[in-house]
């Protein structure tokens, strides 16, 4: 189907089902129950899952295929966000032109930076991209404030000179982002028994784009172009000796992944019209690197899993506080309850970083292939196979 092999079609279908039914899947616990804390099925987080999924998929096209480790990808995401917000400010609240512009601008930005950075490889390439991104961040935060609104972040105001559309609605608010009238933030609530599911227009737009992005990434992975990129990774020198100039291929991969990042940035701004400079900081670039490695670099689905994993921790674990803990363990005798809360306390709420750090280490120590390998092992274990067999079902070897 869609010009894909059977296995890839299955993967795409699985991803499609997962994303389209995410409001159900991510909301397994009844609202109001103690475990509802772990529900992730609310619009903002679901949007973030797919947006960062797109970002990581794009990053993986560069890193997973060519092995070039960019440490400045967040810059493209930031540029994409700024372009989109400017489009909202100047042209229209329709998300389509904003997303298009953000993809184009970040593509151009990636072309320039990629052209320069790709003159070097290995760690030197990483440092070059890092340097460019850090420069973008520092300037956006300070000197470029007229364009970026610095620390506060670029926001919509009531007096934006919007060409197509009003500066403010009749009742004096800022208009909301929409797709031909479909408001991104409108959410349909469905209560089934004790459960409360939320279906958000913005989320479904992001989800559809994620599917398209994922499909495109499968096509790239399986194409001769993808093969060429893998050749770059395995031995660039040998490739050069055969008379092939690898630079156009790597540059194309760089630009494509930059455009993915821009797309993610544009979507982010479409869901929530704000663009802040922190999006370009090295920690943000580092985050997508971590997402990709954590999920499984070079695999198709890995980066998406990694993105979901990190965002889940950031948004769910940081919100658990001692009160919640006492609520959970209230069934225990008093002394024991306090003891359990005392033990768990450092790992939740303000300690969510600690939990994340420990999990990074555990995953990379015990699952060298990232979360994907974990999935394969479980899969293999369920089927009663030995590990050797399981590795055959790898979606795509990480080399």
């Amino acid at each position: 189907m869609f010009g894909l092999e059977k296995r890839d079609t299955t993967l795409l279908l699985i991803v499609a089902i997962l994303t389209l039914f995410a409001p159900f899947i991510l909301n397994p616990f009844p609202t109001g129950s103690g475990l509802a804390q772990f529900n992730a099925g609310y619009p903002d987080l679901m949007q973030r899952f797919v947006i960062f999924g797109i970002f990581a998929i794009g990053f993986n096209i560069l890193f997973g295929l060519t092995g070039y480790l960019s440490f400045g990808h967040a810059a493209f995401l930031g540029v994409g966000s700024y372009s989109a917000v400017w489009m909202f400010k100047l042209l229209s609240m329709n998300v389509l032109p904003a997303i298009l512009l953000s993809v184009i601008i970040s593509g151009l930005f990636a072309l320039v930076i990629g052209y320069i950075s790709l003159r070097r490889s290995g760690i030197y390439f990483s440092i070059l991209t890092l340097a460019f991104a850090q420069m973008s961040f520092s300037l956006a935060y300070s000197v470029l404030t007229p364009i970026t609104n610095g620390e506060t972040g670029l926001q919509l105001t009531l007096d934006d000179p919007r060409i197509l559309g009003a500066s403010a609605t009749a009742d004096g608010s800022i208009p909301v982002t929409n797709l031909f009238g479909l408001e991104m933030r409108s959410t349909y609530q469905m209560a089934v028994g004790a459960w409360d599911f939320q279906f958000n227009i913005g989320y479904y737009l992001c989800a559809l784009i994620l599917l398209a992005a994922f499909y495109l990434s499968i096509r790239i992975f399986r194409s001769p172009f993808g093969m060429m990129l893998r050749a770059v990774k395995s031995n660039q020198q040998r490739m050069n000796y055969t008379g092939l100039n690898s630079k156009p291929y790597t540059l194309a991969a760089f630009v494509i992944s930059g455009m993915y990042a821009g797309l993610a940035g544009g979507l982010m701004a479409s869901m929530d019209p704000l663009a802040g400079a922190e999006r370009m900081q090295w920690t943000a670039s580092g985050e997508v690197v971590l997402m990709t490695i954590l999920g499984g670099a070079g695999t198709l689905i890995g980066p998406v899993l990694g993105a979901g994993f990190i965002k889940y921790f950031e948004n769910i674990f940081s919100k658990i506080n001692d009160n919640v803990l006492h609520g959970w363990f209230s069934f225990l005798p008093d002394g024991l309850e306090d003891f359990v809360v005392f033990i768990v306390h450092p790992f939740i709420g303000k300690g969510w970083h600690l939990t994340l750090g420990i999990l990074f280490m555990l995953v990379v120590i015990y699952l060298p292939g990232g979360l994907v390998e974990g999935g394969q092992r479980i899969h293999g274990w369920i089927r009663g196979n030995k590990r050797g067999d399981a590795s055959q079902s790898k979606t795509n070897p990480a080399e």
């Binding site: 408001e183 959410t187 609530q189």
Partner: protein, 448 residues
């Protein structure tokens, strides 16, 4: 618990699209029952406390959280009631808000606009929070304030000192109790004049982002009005940790006052570096060289250790105040946690009380009714003397404290002493003051 649509305009459209798109057996919630976002229908009401729990302001955030917990306890009738007994409005009865028990959720802003908005959104979308409060930087405050305006909930700003929060970025759903850079400048200037005279040459080091700029602008204007000359203003990168290369030129600039428009870690480092370079022992133009830190935070000042001694600045509130409200707050906070509250804790506690009181007076959780109750509200007994929540820009006008690093602290908390309480009239400005121009409140948004 039933929650409702965030949008009021997309209601029909969404219903139609989703309804046809998903022909599933559903039990529909009555969507039109609620007139505003997250209308609390059960016996409880949820507030969202969004504070930095990771990153450089984590300790300040932790203190804010303590204050919020204390406020919730007091609202629900627990503890000794704290400032409820000294508050001039008596609408709160210690039975929650409008009889509903107060519950709260917490989140981590990470002092990043993005993360702060994500966290606030999850509180609104997932936990049904009706009010968001907290935060420890202006960038975050402005970002979250914008979000609350869009979502239709009330935002009670925590620690945010930039003029923009209630200036060009003001919002109808956002309220600030904390003072701002203009007020710092207006309060400091007369004190500086008394101490250092009206013939001074000032050198500014300014954190290179919006808050720093508004403060530099404010202090510069106020001191130049005294007759001071501004020798130079230099922007320092936010990421700077070592300010030596910015301090060194001060030595030969001919300036005799150094103004550090820095906050948090920047302030600790730049002040430490300035003292290292012997600036305080210098004599320039026949006068002792002086350093001014316009915005003090006791928690952060602690990091600068001995270096704060004798340095003047301003602060929103300090635990050593002797008025009834402050005393009551310090007593209940100190008894519960074992140390005195910070100004961040104070402003967050007060904001929670003010919100609850406004709901009680309005008789409704509707953000528009609450906003109306807060606008132009005059109160007393919350630690800053008589205070006005001005309707024009949702900024509180109250006395501002000018403080000095204490020479002989008796404890680790006893770092600052209040030099002067500048009365509210002196720090009040017109709503259309040029430093605050450029934004509009817009109209209040109740959401759904």
């Amino acid at each position: 618990m039933s929650k409702t649509d965030v949008s009021r305009r997309g209601l029909l459209k969404t219903g139609a699209v989703a309804g046809t798109g998903l022909a599933l057996p559903t039990i529909f919630t009555a969507q039109s029952a609620a007139a505003f976002t997250n209308d609390p229908t059960g016996g409880t009401v949820t507030l969202g406390f969004n504070v930095p729990q990771t990153g450089p302001y984590a300790d300040e955030g932790a203190d804010e959280l303590r204050a919020f917990e204390l406020a919730v306890e007091h609202l629900n009738g627990g503890g000794d009631g704290g400032m409820l007994s000294t508050f001039s409005s008596k609408a709160l009865e210690g039975n929650g808000i409008l009889g509903k028990k107060v519950e709260f959720v917490t989140g981590d802003t990470q002092t990043k606009s993005d993360a702060a908005r994500a966290s606030a959104k999850s509180m609104i979308e997932k936990d049904g929070a009706i009010m968001i409060s907290g935060g420890s930087s202006s960038g975050v405050a402005v970002a979250v304030q914008g979000l609350c305006q869009e979502a239709g909930v009330i935002f009670m700003a925590g620690l945010t000192h930039s003029n923009d929060t209630t200036g060009k970025d003001k919002k109808a759903n956002g309220f600030r109790h904390f003072f701002n850079a203009y007020m710092s400048a207006a309060a400091l200037a007369p004190v500086l004049k008394n101490l250092y005279g009206d013939d001074r040459k000032a050198y500014h080091l300014t954190a290179d982002y919006t808050w720093g700029w508004t403060q530099e602008e404010s202090i510069k204007a106020a001191t130049e009005a005294l007759g001071w000359e501004t020798v130079n203003t230099v922007k320092t990168p936010l990421a700077a940790t070592d300010f030596s290369s910015y301090i060194a030129p001060v030595l030969n600039s001919g300036a005799d006052v150094l103004v550090l428009n820095h906050y948090g870690g920047n302030m600790v480092n730049s002040l430490t570096n300035a003292v290292q370079f012997g600036l305080r022992d210098k004599v320039v133009n026949g006068k002792n060289f002086e350093i001014v830190v316009p915005l003090y935070s006791r928690l952060m000042a602690k990091g600068a250790g001995e270096n704060v001694k004798g340095i003047h600045g301003s602060t929103n509130w300090h635990w050593s105040l002797r008025d009834e409200g402050s005393q009551a707050f310090v007593r209940s906070f100190g008894t519960k946690y074992g140390f005195p509250p910070s100004q961040a804790a104070h402003t967050c506690y007060v904001q929670t009380l003010l919100y609850a009181d406004a709901v009680a007076r309005a008789g409704s959780f509707n953000p528009c009714a609450v906003a109306e109750a807060l606008e132009g509200f005059e109160f007393d007994g919350l630690g800053n003397g008589k205070t006005l929540y001005r309707a024009d820009d949702h900024q509180c006008f109250k006395d501002v404290l000018v403080v000095r690093g204490k020479e002989n602290p008796t404890s680790e908390f006893d770092l600052l002493e209040v030099v002067e309480v500048t009365p509210a009239e002196q720090v009040t400005y017109a709503p259309d003051h040029p430093m605050f121009a450029g934004g509009q409140l817009g109209s209040c948004n109740p959401g759904a």
